[in-house]
Amino acid sequence: MFGSLLKNFSLHRPLRQPDFDAARLGVSAIALQAPAGSALPGGCAAVLVDRNGRSRRLAAGGKIAAHEGEVAWCVHPGPYSCELAPFAAAPEIGLRVSIAIDASDPRATHQRFDLFLASEGGAAVELNGFAAAMENALQRELAQGNLDLPPCTTLEEWNVFRAGFNQLMYTRFGVMVDDCVPVDLGAARDYAQVLEARLTQQPVEQQQVQAPAAITPQQAFVPACEDARALRRLFLELPCLMCAIRLAALPAGQEQFRQQQDLLRRLDLVSLSVGTMPALELRAPNEALAQDEQLRRARHSRCAAAALDEAWALLARIKNGGEAVLGTSFDEADRIVANLEYETAGRRLTVVATEEVAA
């Protein structure tokens, strides 16, 4: 089971890039996979991850001495600057954010950025892709109302937003937000031109209406890649998440303790379910699964990964608000865990049970 997961994963991670270009580090790339034994470029740290996702860091200077089975990344601490649009419908107003990768925190049991590299790193972490992931996480929190950035934000509201945003970025990606200011992106992203392009496309769409709805946008992805990536994330991140939830806030009283224990127990079962997940393309040993069922399974994996993102965001809110938030967030935690259970159970199914459709 687990073997199939790793095999899938290595399929999509191309062989070591021979062109390890250290000059891009700190400019357009945050981290690059480096061949073992190569010299560490100045100012960079190395993160080595073994097959089980355990990571260790090497300080600057010297060679990358990787053990058998370890993958090495060169990480430049930054600072980096990027622009995020907090609302998809308001492209001309954004945030200019300056981020840095922290040196390892001796108090933490795991470094969040190292975990990010292990579970989502791939061959390279480009700054553009990283900014897109940050933007995605920010937009989701704003849409759900967990962070607020309303029109005519006052200074107090801005400070509350900044605290939540910093904690979200640290908890989800392991980066420190050094600076964040609202900016006018009108010069770079002209909304009038965007609308213009949409308007010129529209007559074409209207001609196509007669054809049956062929491909909905959510199907435009490669199931095998998406599935492997999502399962890899769940497999590596769920144990760390559970550990972090235990540490984040102490339950006040017996009742909360019981609720927290119950959530952790359910998360444990989800984690077990992920670790023993059947291969995407098999219905039974040596029997292939139909393509559309594979697609359905991959969609469940992707939704489970989205629920995992929400769990990290919730953890950030608990860390930010302390025990006061813990009491009120059990319903939200219950929803997220229920979604994880639902999606992983859906991922295991070979066919959608007919009574589920009818019931």
Binding site: P86, F87, A88, A89, A90, P91, E92, I93, R140, A143, Q144, G145, D148, L149, P150, P151, C152, T153, T154, L155, E157, W158, P182, V183, D184, G186, Y191, A192, Q193, L195, E196, R198, L199, Q201, Q202, V209, A213, T216, P217, Q218, C303, A306, A307, D334, R335, A338, N339, E341, Y342, E343, E356, V357, A358, A359
Partner: protein, 331 residues
């Protein structure tokens, strides 16, 4: 957020009768997320399930714990699809995603529910109070809160403002700004407000021109149409709401999750200044009554010292927020 266990949404059938869709919510217990029933028409029930599932794609929050059961009280005529909007709204009401203040009637159909778009309605001349889908009414689901459609070529946004006449007729009115890009041609940069008299049209054009001047962008770029929910009113306290709707339609302002409720005017929009208007107490009381979860209330800075005691807290308890603003634009 507390959600009801049952919600009802109505729709007006082509024969003039009323169709009722009842939504109930119960623990899922391993069943399907949506279950639909239509008397004597299994195919239609399946279509309803599909519509509701597609429309859920536009929601940011997914909850797998509940099952929603939707039932139509009678079989609608064969190819009549106006019940679709009512089904979508009933599904949202029962989960607390959409919380209207009174009973809801809605007519509308769509071929793109997964984008939240509402294509049209079969009902001609909808009576007042009926949510009518499509052009001239509710073009997409986000418009319930005045937000622009993220996929449309013409961007339109609404903001609400207190209409105060000193009587029982006080209510929130809305102003809608739609902008369409000028394709760099010989077209004049124009502001039109078809429902209004020429004097007020000129006033609106002046406000928008001044606030866009303050903004530094948007001049000579857009063809603008302004509509009011209730075109007959006095005073100029709609100015702030108009400016906010315009900024949101042009994609230059952060968004609230709910509606924007603003009151204020200015003689210096070119400097971005927001100035006080009359009838503070009555308007604050009206806002306190009408605001719902997620709404953003914007008032002039000069009102801050004299706000009714407890207004801010009452709004916050309901999930809305309030700011007293001296100047528009980024902090």
């Amino acid at each position: 957020m507390s959600a009801p266990h049952e919600a009802v949404c109505r729709s007006i059938a082509p024969d003039g009768g009323v169709l009722t869709i009842t939504a109930t919510r119960r623990p899922r217990a391993g069943r399907a997320d949506v279950k639909c029933s239509v008397p004597g028409d299994a195919a239609l029930a399946e279509r309803m399930q599909q519509v509701v599932r597609l429309a859920r794609h536009t929601e940011p929050r997914f909850d797998s714990r509940d099952q929603v059961v939707l039932s139509l009280d009678r079989t609608p005529p064969g190819d009549w699809r106006d019940w679709e909007l009512a089904a979508v709204l009933a599904d949202r009401m029962v989960r607390g995603v959409f919380a209207p203040r009174g009973p809801v009637s809605a007519n509308g159909w769509s071929d793109a529910w997964h984008l939240g778009r509402i294509d049209g309605r079969a009902l001609v001349n909808p009576p007042a109070g009926v949510l009518a889908g499509g052009a001239g009414g509710l073009p997409h689901l986000g418009a319930l809160n005045g937000q622009p459609d993220p996929a449309a070529g013409v961007s339109s946004a609404r903001a609400w403002f207190p209409l105060h006449s000193g009587g029982a007729e006080d209510s929130l009115g809305w102003v809608e700004v739609s902008v369409r890009p000028l394709s760099g041609s010989a077209d004049e940069d124009s502001v039109t407000a078809p429902d209004l008299d020429p004097v007020r049209q000129a006033a609106i054009a002046a406000v928008l021109s001044a606030s866009r001047h303050f903004d530094g962008r948007g001049q000579g770029q857009w063809r603008t149409t302004v509509r009011f929910g209730e075109p007959r009113f006095q005073g100029d306290s709609y100015g702030f709401a108009l400016v906010m709707a315009d900024r949101i339609a042009r994609g230059r302002e952060f968004l609230a999750r709910g509606r924007i409720i603003a009151s204020g005017s200015s003689n210096a929009w070119h400097a971005g200044k927001v100035e006080s208007v009359e009838a503070r107490e009555a308007k604050c009381a009206l806002i306190a009554r009408e605001a719902a979860a997620g709404d953003r209330v914007l008032l002039p800075k000069e009102w801050e010292a004299g706000l009714p005691a407890g207004l801010r807290e009452a709004l916050r308890a309901r999930g809305a927020s309030l700011a007293c603003v001296e100047r528009i634009g980024i902090i």
